[in-house]
Symmetry: C2
Amino acid sequence: MDATAQIDLSFMIPIAILAGLGFAAILTRDILRRDTGSDRMREIAGAIQQGARAFLRRQYKTIALIAAALAILFAVALGAQKGLLVGSETAGAFALGATFSALSGYIGMHIAIRSNVRSAAGSLKSFNDALVIALRGGAVSGLSIVSMSLAGVALLYYGYGALGSAVNPTTLNDCITAGYTVALCTAKATEDSLILSIVGFGFGASLVALFAQLGGGIYTKAADVGADLVGKVEAGIPEDDPRNPAVVADLVGDNVGDCAGRGADLFESTAAENIGAMVLGVVLFPFFGIAGVIFPLVARSFGLVASIVGVFVVRAREDEAPMSALNRGYIIASVLAAILFGVAAWAMLQPSSPTASGSLTWAYYWVCGIAGMVTAVVYVWVTQYYTEARYRPVRDIAKASETGPATNIISGFAVGLEATAIPAVVVSIAILFSFWLGESTGIPGGGIYGTAIATMGMLATAAYILAMDTFGPIVDNGAGIIEMAGMSEAARKNMDKLDAAGNTTKALTKGYAVGSAALAAFLLFNAFLSEARVKAVDLAHPETFIGGFMGAALVFLFTAFAIRAVGRAAWSIIKDVRDQFRENPGIMAGTVKPDYGRTVDICTRSALREMVIPGILAVATPLAVGLLFRFVKITYVLDPVTLQLSPLPAGEPLGATLMVGTIVGVLMALVLNTGGGAWDNAKKFIEAGNLGGKGSATHKAAVVGDTVGDPFKDTAGPSLHILVKLLSTITLVIAPLLIP
Amino acid sequence: MDATAQIDLSFMIPIAILAGLGFAAILTRDILRRDTGSDRMREIAGAIQQGARAFLRRQYKTIALIAAALAILFAVALGAQKGLLVGSETAGAFALGATFSALSGYIGMHIAIRSNVRSAAGSLKSFNDALVIALRGGAVSGLSIVSMSLAGVALLYYGYGALGSAVNPTTLNDCITAGYTVALCTAKATEDSLILSIVGFGFGASLVALFAQLGGGIYTKAADVGADLVGKVEAGIPEDDPRNPAVVADLVGDNVGDCAGRGADLFESTAAENIGAMVLGVVLFPFFGIAGVIFPLVARSFGLVASIVGVFVVRAREDEAPMSALNRGYIIASVLAAILFGVAAWAMLQPSSPTASGSLTWAYYWVCGIAGMVTAVVYVWVTQYYTEARYRPVRDIAKASETGPATNIISGFAVGLEATAIPAVVVSIAILFSFWLGESTGIPGGGIYGTAIATMGMLATAAYILAMDTFGPIVDNGAGIIEMAGMSEAARKNMDKLDAAGNTTKALTKGYAVGSAALAAFLLFNAFLSEARVKAVDLAHPETFIGGFMGAALVFLFTAFAIRAVGRAAWSIIKDVRDQFRENPGIMAGTVKPDYGRTVDICTRSALREMVIPGILAVATPLAVGLLFRFVKITYVLDPVTLQLSPLPAGEPLGATLMVGTIVGVLMALVLNTGGGAWDNAKKFIEAGNLGGKGSATHKAAVVGDTVGDPFKDTAGPSLHILVKLLSTITLVIAPLLIP
C-alpha cells in the first residue's frame, strides 16, 4: 500500500517546530533588551510579576493535585480493563499533555509580564515601538504554544510507534463493506492503545486548560469587579489609581486570566484538533497510506510558518489605527497559509487507489481547508459586528442605557442571544459543505475527513491569532503602568489607543476560539463513536435523550457556578480594600502606599477555592452519565448486521451528553462573550462623549452592563470553550471503560 | 380482540365535560351577582374591560389571518401529497384547534376582568370573600378550558371515526417481530388521516397559543416596564397612581398576558398530551384493545372531577396565609386525582393477552401516573425554593443588591441558571422510571406508554393549577383597583396579601407548565418518529447534528426577539406618557384625568406588531430545516431489515431540531422564569424592610433586577413553553410532506 505519486513533507514538522521555538527565542531576546522605563514603572511591573508568579505557582500546585488524582484513577481503571501497559501509557500521555498545557500557560504569562512594562516604556518614544513590542510579546507565546502543541502530538505519534502501521486495511475494508459505520470500522481496524495514548494527551491538556482558565478567569474578574466597585463606585477614585489596594491585583489578573488561560485554551484546541484529524486519517489508509495520518501535522507546520511571516511584517505608521496594522499581518498570514495548505494537500493527498474525484482529490480537500479559513473570517466579522460601536447592536445598548440600567441589561442580553444565530448557521454550513465535498471524493470516510481538514484550515493561523490575543493583556497592563506611574500625556494617549485595540483583539479571539471549538468537536464526536463502539446516538432512546438533557443542563449549571464564583471572590476583595482604607486613612490621602500584596494574596486564595467546584462538575457529569448507563439497562437495540437485540451501549447516552452539551456550550459561550463585549463597548461609546458622555446617568447605566458583562466574557464564556473540549476528551478517555 | 375483564369508563368523558362546564357556569353566576364596589371602582374596572376586549379583538384578527394562511398552505400541501380529503380534514381539525384555543384565552380573560373588581369589593368586607371570589374566577377559566380541551379531542376522536379500529393488529405484530421500532410499526399499522387530523388540532391550538402568549406577554410587560420607568423612576409617583396614563394599560396587561396567554397555553398542553398519549395507546391495541386509546381521555375526566372538588373546598380563615388555603385545595385535588387515576387504570388497563406483569399491569401504570404527580410536586417545590424569600437564593440576590445593580443582576442570573439542574434531573428520572416501569410490563411499546401515563398524572390537576394561576392576575388587578380608587387601608391590606400570594401561584404554575411541556414533548417525539417514518435521530450524522444545532439556536434567537420586543413596545409607551405629561400639565397636578385609552391603544398596536417576527421565526425554522434536508442528501443510511442504503430521511434532522430545541427551550424557560421570579421577590424582600428597606440604594439596585426579570418571566419564558410544544405539533404536521 504505497502511494507513489506522493511527496513526503513530514520533514517540515521538525523544521516548523524549531523555527517556531527559534523565532520565539529571538523575539524574547529582542524584548528583554528593551528599555523598562522609569523606576516607578519598574516597581509597579515588579509587583505585577510577583503577584502573577505567586498565583500561577499556587494554582499549578492545586491543579497538579487534581490531575495526579485523576491520572491514577484512569490508569488503574484502564489498566484493569486493558492491561497494565495501556493504562500506564495512557497515564504517561495524560501527564505529558497536562505538563505541556501548564507550560503553555506559564510561557504566555512569563513573557507578558515582561513585555507590559517594555511596551509602556516604548510608548514614551513612539506609538510604533509600543505596538511592535506588545505584538512580539504576544507572538512569543503564540509561536511557542503552537510549536509545543505540534511537538507534543508528534512526539506521541513517533514515540509510541507509527499509528498508521497499526491499521489492518483488510479488516477495515471488510468491515465497511459489511455495512458498519466508518467510525466503528476504524476502531476495529486499529490498535486501541495508540489512540488511547493520543487521547490521554488531549485529556491532560484540556483538564489543565479548564482549571487554568477557570482559576485565572475568576481571579481576573474578581479583581476587576472588586477594584471597580470599591474604588470607582465607593471611594470615587479613577481606574488604575495607585491609592486603590486592588489595582495591582487587577493588573495581575489580566496576565493570569487572559494570557495563561487563553494560552492553555488554544494549546488544547490545536492539540485536540490534530488528534481528531489524525484518528480520522486512519480511515483513509487504503487511499493515502500513512500520509492521511501525517497530513494534519504537516498542515499545522505550514500554518506555523505562515504565522511567523505574519508577525514579522507588522509595522504601524505613526498615525495608523492599530487594528489596521494588526489586520494587515493577519491577512498576510492567512493568504500564505492558504497557499501552503494547497501545496501540502497537493503533495500528500494523492490517492493510490482510484477515487471518484481522481487526480483532483487533493483540490477537494484544499477547498475544505479554505472553507475553514473563511469560517474563521466570518466569525471574526460577526464578532466585530456585534461588539463594535460602529454597528447597530452596541449603539442600541448605548441608547437603551438612556432609560436606565435595566433597559441596558435587557438590551445587552438580547444582543448576546441574537449573536448566536449567524455563527450557528455558518458553522453548520462549514460542517455540511466540507463533509459533502469530502464525500464527493468517493472515499469511504472521506466526508468526515473533509470536516477535519476544514477545522485545520480554521486553526491554520492559530499562532498569529494567539499573538493578537496576548497583545491585549500586555497593552492593558502597559496602559495601567503608565497611569499608575503618572507618565506623560502623549504616552498615555499611545497606550490608550493600543488598549482599545487590545479589547477588540481579545473579543475576536474569543469568537475564533468558540468557532474552532465547535468545528473540532464534531471531529472528536466521530473519534468518540469509534472508541466507544457506538453505532448511533439516537435521541429517540430515553437514555440517550436524558444524556442529552444532562449535557445541556451541565452547561447551564457550570455557567451559574463560574459566574457566582466571580461574585464571591470579588466580595472578598471588596472586604479587604475596605479594611485597608479603614485601618490606614493615609492610603486615601496618598501619603501611605496600600498593601498591594495582601489583596493579591486574598484574591489568589479565593479564586483557587472557587475554581474547584465548577471544575469537578465538568469532570464528574460525563463520568456519572457514563457509569449510570453502564449499569442501568432499559432499552434494547438491534444490531444491523447480526440482527440480534442487545442492551443500549453506555456510550450512546454519553455521546448525547457530549453532543448536546457541545451545541449548548458553544451557543452559551457566544451569548456570554458577545453580550459582555457589547456592554463593554457600549460603555466606551458613551465615554467617548456620546449620549451625555462620562459621568452622565446614561453612562452610569452603561457601567452596570459593563460590570455584568465582565464575568460573562472573561470567566464563564472562555471556560465554556474549554468545557466543550474537555467533554470531548474525557468521554474519549472513559469510552473503553464503558464497554462491558 | 376484546378485553373481557375491562370495564368501559368512557361514559365518564361526557359527564366530566358537562360537570366542568356546568360548575364553571354556576361559578360565573355566583361571581356576577356579587357586589362591584364603589362607582370609582366600577369606572376603573370598566376601563380595564374595554382595553382588554379591544386588545383581544385586534389580536385575534391578526392571529386569524396568520392561522388562515397557514391552514390553506398545509391543506394544499397535504392535499397534493395525501389526497384532497386528508388535506381538508386536517385543515378542519386545525381550524377547530385554533378556535378552541382562542376561545380558551377569551374565556379566561372574560371572567378575569369581571372577577377583579368583585374580588376588590369583597376585600372591603372580608379577606375570605376576596380570596374565594378570586379563586372561583380562576376556577371558571380552569374548568372551562380543561373541559374544552377534553371535548375537542373527544369530538375529533368520535367524529372522525374510532382511532383504534383503524389499527391492523396483524401488521403491527409482524412489524415489531421483524425488528422495527414500535413507533414506526404503529404508523405502518394505522391509518394516516386519523392521526393527521388529531395532530392538526394540536397544531392549531399551539399556533394560537404561541401568538396569544407572545402578544399578551409583550403587551403586559411593555405596559408594566413602561409605566414603571416613566411613572416611578421619571415622575416619582407610586405604582398604580391614577395620574400615570399607563396605569390602565398595565392592569389590562395582566389580563391579556397572564389570563388569555396562560389559558391558551394550558389548553394546548392538555390537548397535546391527550393526543400524544392516544397515538401511543394505539400500539397497545393487542393488549388493551380500544381501552388503551380511550384511557387518556378517561383519566383526564377523573382529574377534572378531582379539580372541581378541590376548588369547592377552599375556604380561608381570616388570619390564614392565603397560600396555605390554596395549597389545601391543591392537596385534596391531588390525592383525589391519584385515587381516581388508580380506579381508572384498574378498570381499563386489564390486558386481554398474557403480559409479564400479569394482573398487576394496571398497577404498574398507576405508579407511572403517580410518578408524574410527584414530578409536579417536586417542580412546584423547586420553584418555591428558588423564588421565595424564605430560602437562600432570593436572599443571596437581595444581599448582592447591597453592592449595586450589577451584582444584583449577576447574582439573579446565576440563580436562574442554577435552577435548571434539579428540574432537569427530576424530569429525567420521571421519564426513565416510567419508561422502565412500562417496559417491565413486557408489552412491546409499553415503556413509552408508561411515560405517557406519567405525563397524564402530571397534568391530572391541570384545572386546579390553572385556577390558582388565573387567581394571580385577578387579585393583582383587584389590588390595583383598590389603590386607584383610594379605598380603605384594611381593604388595601387584604388585597396586598392576596397579591403576594398571586405572585407565588403565577411562579408555581410556570414551573408546572415547563415540567409538563418537557414530559409531554417526549411523548410527541415518538409520535413524530412514527409519522415521519424515521428510524433514529442519530446526532452522529452531520445533517442531524446540524438540525439539533438549529433547534438550539432557534431557542436563543426566539428569546432575543421576545425580550427585545418588550423593550421596543415599552419605549412607545414611555414616549406617549411623556407626551401626555407635556401636553397637559394638569395630569401631574391631579386636576385632569389622563387619556388612559390612548396609551392602551398604542400599547396594543406595538405589542401586535412585535409578536409577528418571533412567531414567524418559530414556524419557519422547522419548516426550513425539514425542506432543506428533503432536497439536500449527503448521508446514506442502512435499512436494518432490507440491508440497503438509502438517503437520510428529512425527518431525521428535523427530529433533532425538535428534540434539542425542546431540551434547550425547557432549560432556557426555567432560567428566565426562575431568574425573573427570584429578582421580583428579592425586591419585595427588601421592600418588606430588610437590608435598608424601600427607598434605600439597595432597594434601587433590586428594582433594576425586577425590571430586567419582567420580560424574562412574563414574556420570553412562558412563550418558550409554547414554542417547545409548537415544535412538536408543527413537525408532526409537516412530517408527511417530508416523505418523498
